[in-house]
């Protein structure tokens, strides 16, 4: 690697430095826009005691769900975990800890974490189990709760295209949590469908500037769909 060239050519290089007990922030919504190869590499490395921050936890045999097979996840911070039977079982058995977090609060926790903001007040969750133990403050007569931001040792991201400098473009709704997650990792690793030369992406069309990105790898994606729905 030289200068701003972020491209790595093996998954081992892409995930080098991940260790037991790390917090991993992952982009994706359901199975849409997930870094499939980086997740596979974490499974291969058998890194344990992970805290995973992601909107969902994949399904039993795909996405982050595969990290449950060998009990690699200690805790997950997510908004919805309903598609995963193994997850439910490990939760009931006390193997895994879950911090259910409202989806917008989760996105803002990542955004704030990456932006150097340690916490923020939101009306979301006030008066619900989510508010338990959290500071309440009134603004203009309405109560808000204090939510703390999140950063992690690693962020694992799926983008459509990257240039060698790590500037990213996402495709359609595969964007979702990826741009915020990319800002919240101390080491941000991005798996993409296509790597182009600097200058090939229009500067004004870049969704995530390369300053947030440490490593880029070209992946191969299955892109599994959870619910294929068509109109007749």
């Amino acid at each position: 690697m030289a200068g701003f060239d972020k491209v790595v050519t093996s998954y081992a290089e892409a995930m080098e430095g991940i260790k037991d007990g790390d917090t991993i922030i992952a982009g994706g919504f359901g199975l849409c826009g997930i870094p499939e190869g980086l997740i596979n590499e974490i499974k291969r490395k058998q890194t344990k005691e992970l805290t995973v921050v992601s909107n969902n936890c994949g399904v039993d045999d795909f996405g982050l769900g595969i990290l449950l097979h060998d009990r690699q996840i200690k805790k997950i911070v997510a908004s919805y975990v309903g598609e995963n039977a193994l997850f439910e079982q490990q939760l009931l058995d006390g193997i895994i800890d879950v911090e259910l977090t409202p989806q917008g609060t989760l996105a803002e926790k990542m955004r704030a974490g990456g932006a150097g903001i340690p916490g923020f007040y939101t009306a979301t969750g006030y008066g619900t189990p989510v508010a338990e133990g959290k500071e309440v403050k009134e603004f203009n007569g309405r109560p808000y709760i204090l939510e703390e931001s999140i950063t992690g040792e690693f962020a694992i991201i799926k983008a459509w295209k990257a240039d060698r400098y790590g500037n990213l473009v996402f495709r359609h709704t595969a964007m979702n949590f990826n741009p915020m997650a990319a800002t919240a990792g101390k080491m941000t690793v991005v798996e993409v469908e296509e790597i182009v030369e600097p200058g090939e992406l229009q500067p004004s069309e870049i969704h995530t500037p390369g300053i947030y990105v440490n490593r880029v790898i070209k992946g191969n994606f299955e892109k599994r769909i959870e619910r294929v729905t068509t109109s007749k």
């Binding site: 199975l31 908004s79 919805y80 609060t105 359609h172 709704t173 619910r227 068509t230």
Partner: protein, 220 residues
């Protein structure tokens, strides 16, 4: 007679106004999109990052990168915009979405809603529901008026863990349309051939019935 799921959706659709940005939850709320009144335009927001959700794709248009918040494959309508999750919830939390329609397990007379968790039974997560009920300008809840066992879902106080407090303004059930204000349910309309007495008997919370209650009108 109690309304079908489609009829509940049809009645909710009558609440849509031209130029509304609307978020529709999973289940009956999703069906509302099929009954947008002629002559008005609404734009559907899907909280995974799509404003201007179109119909399901044809088989050859299916794209893994194009889904809605229910993880179903969809298309983008003409004039749609796609953005990240923080932006999506900025528009929700910031009060820019005109109407949210969602289902619930229970609603109470203070406008509190429980829709995401049944302790020891259902622990799936709240998804975006807590942000939606905290942020929307107007919230309509769709649900059956009572459970299969006849237990009312319109209560004095919710018994299940809450999704949000003091937020539900209107409820459309299979039996009635009700407004929630001043700590009570106000009966506005009843389903065709459903008596006020039946609604009273299936409403556990404080119910206000003022004057003659009209039947819902469905025009095709």
């Amino acid at each position: 007679m109690a309304l079908s799921r489609e009829q509940v959706a049809m009645r909710v659709a009558q609440e849509l106004k031209d130029g509304y940005y609307v978020n529709l939850g999973i289940g009956i709320p999703t069906l509302v999109a099929n009954f947008v009144p002629a002559g008005i335009e609404v734009m559907l927001q899907s909280e995974n990052g799509l404003l201007g959700m179109g119909p399901y794709p044809n088989e050859d248009q299916v794209d893994a990168d194009m889904i809605n918040a229910g993880k179903e494959t969809v298309t983008a309508a003409t004039g749609a915009a796609i953005f990240n999750s923080a932006e999506s919830f900025a528009m929700i939390r910031g009060g820019h979405v005109d109407l949210t329609v969602l289902g619930a397990f229970e609603v109470d007379q203070q406008g509190n809603i429980a829709s995401w968790m049944i302790p020891k039974k259902l622990i799936k997560g709240m998804g975006g529901a807590m942000d939606l009920v905290a942020g929307a300008q107007n919230i309509i809840v769709t649900m059956t008026h009572a459970s299969k066992h006849g237990d009312s879902k319109l209560l004095e106080a919710c018994t299940l863990p809450l999704t949000g407090v003091n937020c539900v303004k209107k409820i459309v059930t299979d039996l009635a349309v009700l407004e929630v204000k001043d700590g009570a349910f106000y009966l506005l309309e009843r389903a065709p051939n459903v008596s006020v007495d039946e609604i009273i008997s299936k409403t556990a919370g404080k119910l206000i019935v003022e004057g003659d209650i009209p039947e819902m009108q469905f025009t095709d």
